[in-house]
Amino acid sequence: TRRRTGEALRAFHTAIRSSPGNTRNPAMKEQAQGTMLKVLTSFKSSEIEQAVNSLDRNGVDLLMKYIYKGFEKPTENSSAILLQWHEKALAVGGLGSIVRVLTARKTV
């Protein structure tokens, strides 16, 4: 339903906005990762593209970082949906966004 989609989108933007930028605190990072993973896996495949397109360049880079973090710690069904997020994020961010996941000094 459109209301559910709207909520998922809002949760997504909130998670992106409130991502702890410069923290080294592992507990904070884990919590943020967990929240983001929950939000990403709550999306239907058809809703992903719209969500990615609503981000700016920095947002896409941040999303890509969380996607790869999600790959690092897979849960039962997470990889499938994360691959779909990866495909859409790659289409917008290009290989450069993946390069910046690899070169980032500050990880998510």
Binding site: R57, N58, D61, G93, G94, L95, G96, S97, V99, R100, T103, A104, R105
Partner: protein, 368 residues
């Protein structure tokens, strides 16, 4: 646009003579080969053999016609043409790691060498001793210096380093020049003075370039970003996170436009918007070849699906002119303010010359 395949191995570095009839390049070994243009062909006319390690940088002084080369053997040589023979003069750089890049200053009375010794050697000729001597710029460089570019005032030097920073130093040598007048980068320029330092990007700075006026400096980093510092805006830095693989070479072609190239094997245009202080991507400059659309058999479709999880043939081969990463760009005609032609060399052993067309002074640039 013209492409010439010189080698089957990477061209490590290249430099052009003043009238662009000769190109000096390192064919991925310890030598420098000079080729001359003979109509449509290129003929090798000289082989310069003196280095004991790979030649990592070549620069050709347009007025004095001297070559300077540097290599992993920790040496630099200044070459002078005597009759039909290039004669080398050793320059002691006093470094204990490989030299990585070298550039003549605009007045050709100095040259700078960046090295793995985490410093820059500024070399000048001492008349009394008939000998090249060098001074070191060390602080606060923390890693290998990968690229250098001189400001038109012959004093300021931009350096890109593996410590992720772009810096501008003064390389003022009182023995060979007058005190420089103030510039937008500062007024006091004693030797070694740090005039500008970028905040860390997240990648090695592969290439750095001053604009023709010297009031802007741009650099490309291994984190797939392009950055520009504008002295006219109090050294504000604009940066662009590109969608491409890391860029390895960059040059200004007008005061507001740049061409960069790297691991995506094709040159790309970038524009600096003065009023906003923003960099934007202007498109790839390569002309894509028409890919042949042939039908796939069912077996081929299945094999593609198995191997690549996709059943179309797109991107099976590179449709760019260079078939491997481009590692260097040089301006051929027009200078850095009105470039009408530039040259790229790469790891595919090829050299390509590109024409730039300006449709109108304020309009977008196109590839001709």
């Amino acid at each position: 646009m013209a492409y010439h395949s010189f080698l089957l191995e990477p061209i490590s570095c290249h430099a052009w003579n003043k009238d662009r009839t000769q190109i000096a390049l390192c064919p991925n070994n310890h030598e420098v080969h000079i080729y001359r243009k003979d109509g449509a062909k290129w003929s090798k006319i000289h082989e310069l053999k003196e280095h004991n390690g790979q030649v990592t940088g070549i620069d050709w002084a347009p007025e004095s016609n001297r070559l300077v080369t540097c290599g992993t053997d920790r040496n630099a040589y200044v070459w002078t043409l005597k009759g039909n023979v290039w004669k080398p003069t050793l320059v002691i750089l006093r470094i204990n790691r490989a030299a990585r890049c070298v550039k003549w200053s605009p007045k050709e009375n100095k040259f700078a060498v960046g090295s793995g010794s985490r410093l820059i050697s500024i070399c000048y000729f001492e008349q009394e001793n008939d000998w090249w001597v060098c001074k070191h710029i060390k602080k606060p460089i923390r890693s290998t210096v990968l690229s250098l570019d001189w400001h038109p005032n012959n004093v300021l030097l931009a350096a890109g380093s593996c410590d992720f920073k772009c810096r501008i130093f003064s390389a003022y040598i009182k023995e060979v020049e007058e005190r420089p007048s103030p510039t937008p980068w500062g007024s006091k320029m004693p030797f070694g003075e740090l005039m500008f330092e970028s905040s860390s990007s997240c990648g090695w700075v592969h290439s750095i370039c001053f604009s023709a006026s010297g009031s802007r400096v741009a650099w490309v980093s291994h984190d797939s970003t392009l950055c520009l510092a504008d002295a006219g805006k109090k050294m504000a830095v604009a940066s662009l996170c590109t969608e491409t693989l890391p860029l390895l070479a960059v040059t200004f072609i007008t005061e507001n436009s740049l061409v960069a190239a790297g691991h995506d094997c094709c040159p790309m245009l970038f524009t600096y918007e003065d009023s906003q202080g923003a960099l934007t991507f202007g498109g790839k400059l390569d002309v894509p070849k028409q890919s042949s659309q042939r039908g796939l058999t069912a077996r081929e479709r299945f094999q593609n699906l198995d191997k690549k999880a996709s059943s179309d043939t797109a991107n099976a081969t590179l449709d760019t002119l260079h078939k491997n990463s481009i590692s260097q760009i040089s301006v051929l005609t027009g200078g850095k303010d009105k470039c009408s032609q530039f040259c790229t060399t790469g790891m595919d052993g090829g050299m390509s010359i590109w024409d730039v067309k300006v449709r109108n002074p304020c309009g977008p640039l196109r590839l001709g």
